[in-house]
C-alpha cells in the first residue's frame, strides 16, 4: 500500500476544499451548470438517470482494509448500502446526493483516497495487473510505476482539458493482465540485455465506438524518460486531437488519421525537446516511492502444505474453488485468492456495505490488511498462506462469496447499463443475471472452461464487450432494447500456457436479439463450441479462432437455431464497421 506523505495529503485536502467551494457556488446559483459540469466530472460526479453517480478512485486497484471499511461506511451513510466495483478498478456509488458529495470526499481524504480525475477529459485512474507485486512472472512491481504516473497525472496543468478522456495502463509482468493494447497508452515494463528497466510504449488502443488494438510506437523507453515521453505523447494529442466531434476525439483516431508511424515521429520530435529536462526521473525518486509502499512481511514457509493438499484431494467443492479462484504467488507457501463478485442474482461487481466489512475482516486476518480490485470487477486477497486457504474458503462460503467461477462464463463483466446510466441504450444487469441463472450448473461451467463474457449497455463499451470471447452489446432500435452478439474477442495474451491468444476485437455474428433470447443464444454458441473443440484444452475463443464464426452463425440463426432469431434489418451492425 502506498502511504501518503504530508504533501500528498495536503494536495488531496486542498482538493476537497476547492471542490466544496465549487459545489457551494453551484448550489448558490453562482456557477452555471455548463461551467460546473467539467469541474464535477473531474471529481467523479456524474448526473445519472435517477441520481448523481460518484466514482471514487482506487489507484491501480490497490486498497487497504481501512479504506475498504471507509467505502462501506460511505455506502451506508451516503448511499443505499452498496457499491459497484468497475472495470477501471474503481468503485461507484449510484445514489449519493450532490450536496453531500464534498462530505464524501472529505471522508475519503481521511483514508488517503479521492475522486480526482475519475471522469472528464483528462488522464484517468491508472490501471494495472491485479497480481502486481506477487506474480511469478513479474518483471517489475508495476504499482511503483503506476504511483509515479499517478503523481505525474494528478492535476497536470497542461492536460486537464484534453479532447477526450485518457486512460493509461501499466503491465509489469511477462503476461499482460492489464489489457494494455486497448488503452490510450499501454506501458509494458521490460528489461534490456543489461537488465535495465524500460517500457514498451503502445498508443491508440481502445474500445468504445471504434475498437482499435494499440500500436507499439517505441520498443524500449528507458525508465528515466517515462514522464517526459508521456508529456510528449499527451502534448501531441492535446494540440492535434480532434475537438470538433466527440466521437472522433480519442487519441486512437488521431493515431489512425496520421498513421502510427507519422504519429510516432511527431512524438519523438516533441520528446527531443523535453528529453533530459527537469521531469526526467531520478533513481532517488523511484526508490522513495518504492519505500513508501508497505510490504507484507512474509513468513518463511514450506512450498507445500499437507492440510491444504489433503483438503483439495478430498473436498471437490474446495478443489473446484482452488482451481478457479486461487492463483500462484512468487513467494513460497503463499497464494492469491479471487473473491468473485459474480454471484447468481447479484449485479456483477456489486458488493454490500456488510460484505465490504466482512471482506475487510478476512483481509486483516489472512492477507496483510490489503486487497486489490480487478478490472474483471472482482476482489483479490493477494497474500494468503496456503495453509489458510481452506479456512478462508469456509468463511467465504458462509458469506456467499466463494463462487468458483473466475475465468468462467458466469464471471461476467458488465457495465451498470440502462438501470443506472443515462448513456445506455439497453440494460445490462438483467442480461447478466439471466445468463448466470441459465448456466448455474457448476460442473457444466467447468466443462466449458475459460470463457470471458462481457456486456455493455451501449457503444461506449464500459463493459468491454469487444474483447469478450462472447460480447453482448445493447443497441437501440426504434426505442426498443436489442442486443448484438460478437464472438472471438480477446483482451490480450493473458494465459501463459496458450499461444495465439493476442488481443482481438470480436466479430458480429449477425442481426441482434431481444433480451429474452440472449440465454438461448449463449447456450447455442456454447453447444457449437463443445461440438467443435478439438480437446477440452481448447478454449471457446481458440475454437472460434480456428474454425471461424460461420459454424456459430449457423447454430444460432440456422435450422434449430434460436426461436425468432432473425430480427430483420439491423442498424446496429453498421456501427461497429468503423
Amino acid at each position: 500500500m502506498y502511504l501518503y506523505d504530508e504533501i500528498d495529503q495536503r494536495i488531496v485536502d486542498e482538493r476537497v476544499r476547492q471542490y466544496r467551494d465549487q459545489t457551494r457556488r453551484f448550489l448558490a446559483g453562482k456557477l452555471s451548470e455548463d461551467d460546473f459540469r467539467p469541474l464535477r466530472l473531474q471529481n467523479g460526479l456524474y448526473i445519472q438517470r435517477y441520481a448523481p453517480m460518484l466514482r471514487v478512485a482506487i489507484p491501480y486497484g490497490l486498497l487497504s482494509t481501512r479504506q475498504l471499511r471507509k467505502l462501506a461506511h460511505i455506502a451506508r451513510r451516503y448511499d443505499r448500502g452498496y457499491g459497484h466495483f468497475s472495470t477501471r478498478q474503481n468503485i461507484q456509488y449510484n445514489w449519493p446526493k450532490l450536496e453531500e458529495s464534498p462530505d464524501i470526499l472529505a471522508e475519503l481524504a481521511e483514508v488517503q483516497m479521492h475522486a480526482i480525475q475519475t471522469s472528464g477529459n483528462c488522464v484517468r485512474n491508472i490501471t494495472t495487473d491485479h497480481f502486481a507485486g506477487i506474480a511469478p512472472d513479474e518483471i517489475v512491481d508495476s504499482f511503483v510505476w503506476c504511483e509515479l504516473v499517478r503523481q505525474w497525472s494528478t492535476f497536470h496543468p497542461e492536460f486537464a482539458y484534453l479532447p477526450r478522456k485518457f486512460k493509461i495502463a501499466v503491465n509489469g509482468a511477462t503476461h499482460d493482465r492489464a489489457a494494455t493494447f486497448v488503452h490510450d497508452i499501454g506501458l509494458h515494463a521490460i528489461r534490456d540485455e543489461r537488465g535495465e528497466i524500460g517500457f514498451r510504449v503502445i498508443v491508440g488502443g481502445g474500445l468504445g465506438r471504434t475498437p482499435v488494438i494499440g500500436h507499439v510506437i517505441r520498443e524500449f523507453l528507458p525508465w528515466r524518460h517515462l514522464l517526459t515521453y508521456l508529456d510528449a505523447i499527451l502534448r501531441v494529442y492535446n494540440r492535434y486531437g480532434r475537438r470538433d466531434n466527440k466521437y472522433k476525439a480519442r487519441i486512437k483516431i488521431l493515431v489512425r488519421e496520421r498513421t502510427p508511424e507519422v504519429f510516432a515521429r511527431e512524438v519523438e520530435a516533441e520528446w527531443e525537446h523535453l528529453k533530459d529536462g527537469p521531469a526526467t526521473l531520478i533513481g532517488e525518486e523511484v526508490a522513495r516511492i518504492e519505500s513508501r509502499f508497505t510490504r507484507p512481511q512474509y513468513a518463511d514457509l514450506p512450498a507445500e502444505d499437507a492440510g491444504y493438499d489433503t483438503a483439495r484431494a478430498t473436498e471437490p467443492a474446495f478443489s473446484a474453488w482452488v482451481r478457479r479462484n486461487v492463483h500462484p504467488h512468487k513467494v513460497r507457501g503463499y497464494a492469491a485468492v479471487t473473491i468473485s463478485l459474480k454471484r447468481n442474482g447479484v449485479p456483477p461487481g456489486d458488493a454490500t456495505a456488510d460484505e465490504m466489512d466482512a471482506i475487510a475482516d478476512l483481509a486483516d486476518r489472512y492477507s496483510f490488511a490489503e486487497l486489490r480490485v480487478t478490472h474483471e470487477q472482482n476482489l483479490v486477497l493477494a497474500d494468503v498462506r496456503k495453509a489458510d486457504l481452506h479456512t478462508l474458503w469456509q468463511e467465504l462460503r458462509a458469506l456467499g462469496l466463494a463462487t468458483p467461477n473466475v475465468g468462467l462464463l458466469t464471471n461476467i463483466i458488465a457495465c451498470p447499463g440502462g438501470d443506472f446510466c443515462s448513456l445506455a441504450n439497453a440494460k445490462s444487469i438483467p442480461v447478466a443475471l439471466a445468463i448466470q441463472e441459465r448456466f448455474d450448473d457448476l460442473d457444466y461451467l467447468h466443462d466449458i472452461g475459460e470463457l470471458d463474457l462481457n456486456i455493455s449497455g451501449c457503444i461506449n463499451a464500459c463493459g468491454h464487450h469487444h474483447v469478450g470471447h462472447i460480447g453482448i452489446l445493447g443497441v437501440d432500435k426504434g426505442g426498443e432494447e436489442w442486443y448484438q452478439i460478437t464472438i472471438g474477442g480477446n483482451q490480450g495474451p493473458t494465459h501463459p500456457t496458450r499461444d495465439g491468444a493476442k488481443a482481438a476485437i470480436g466479430k458480429i455474428i449477425g442481426p441482434s436479439f431481444a433480451r429474452a433470447q440472449i440465454p438461448d443464444v449463449v447456450e447455442r454458441l456454447i453447444a457449437c463450441y463443445l461440438d467443435h473443440r478439438d480437446s477440452d484444452a481448447e478454449r471457446f475463443v481458440d475454437t472460434v479462432g480456428r474454425i471461424g464464426i460461420e459454424p456459430f452463425k449457423q447454430r444460432v440463426y440456422g435450422a434449430g437455431g434460436v426461436p425468432g432469431g432473425k430480427s430483420g434489418n439491423d442498424r446496429a451492425a453498421e456501427t461497429l464497421v468503423a
Binding site: E14, R15, N121, R239, R243, A279, E285
Partner: protein, 163 residues
Amino acid sequence: MSPLLRAREVVEDRWMRLGIDDPVESCADVLVPLARWQKEREALLARPARVGVLLGPADNPAAIAGDVDRLALIAVDFPHFTDGRGYSTARLLRERYGYQGELRAVGDILRDQVFYLKRVGFDTFALRADQDPEDAKKALDDFSEAYQTSVDRPQPLFRRRLA
C-alpha cells in the same frame, strides 16, 4: 469589459484589440491576430507604440518563435474553457521559445481554471465578464503544492523534495 488580473491586481486594460482589417491608431498599443502580424509585421514594428499578437487555439506558436523579443504581449484565446490547446501553447512559448513578456489568457477565462493557467506560464488573465476578480485572485492559491514541472515552478516536486 472583462476584468484584467495581473500580478494579483485588477488593472485597466490599455491594449487595443484589433481585428484583421481594423485601422491602426499610431499611438495605441495594439494586439493583432497572428494572420495580421504575419502580413504587416514590419509596419507594426515601425510604429512608436507597442505591439502584441493574439494566438487562436489552433495557431502554432512556432510561427512567432523568432519574434518573441519584439513582442510586448502575447495573448492566447480560449473560445471555450474546455478547449485546452492554449495550455500547450503557453508552455511552448515560455519553455521552448523563451518568451519573457506578458502572456495573457483571453476568452472564456473562469475562476476555476486560473490556477492551471498560471502554472503553464500565463501571468495575466482577461476574465470573462461575469467573473469576480477578487474570487479569481484567491483561486491562484487553490493548491499550495503540485507534482509536475511547470513554468512557474520548473523543478518538479520530486526534485524539490531532495533539496
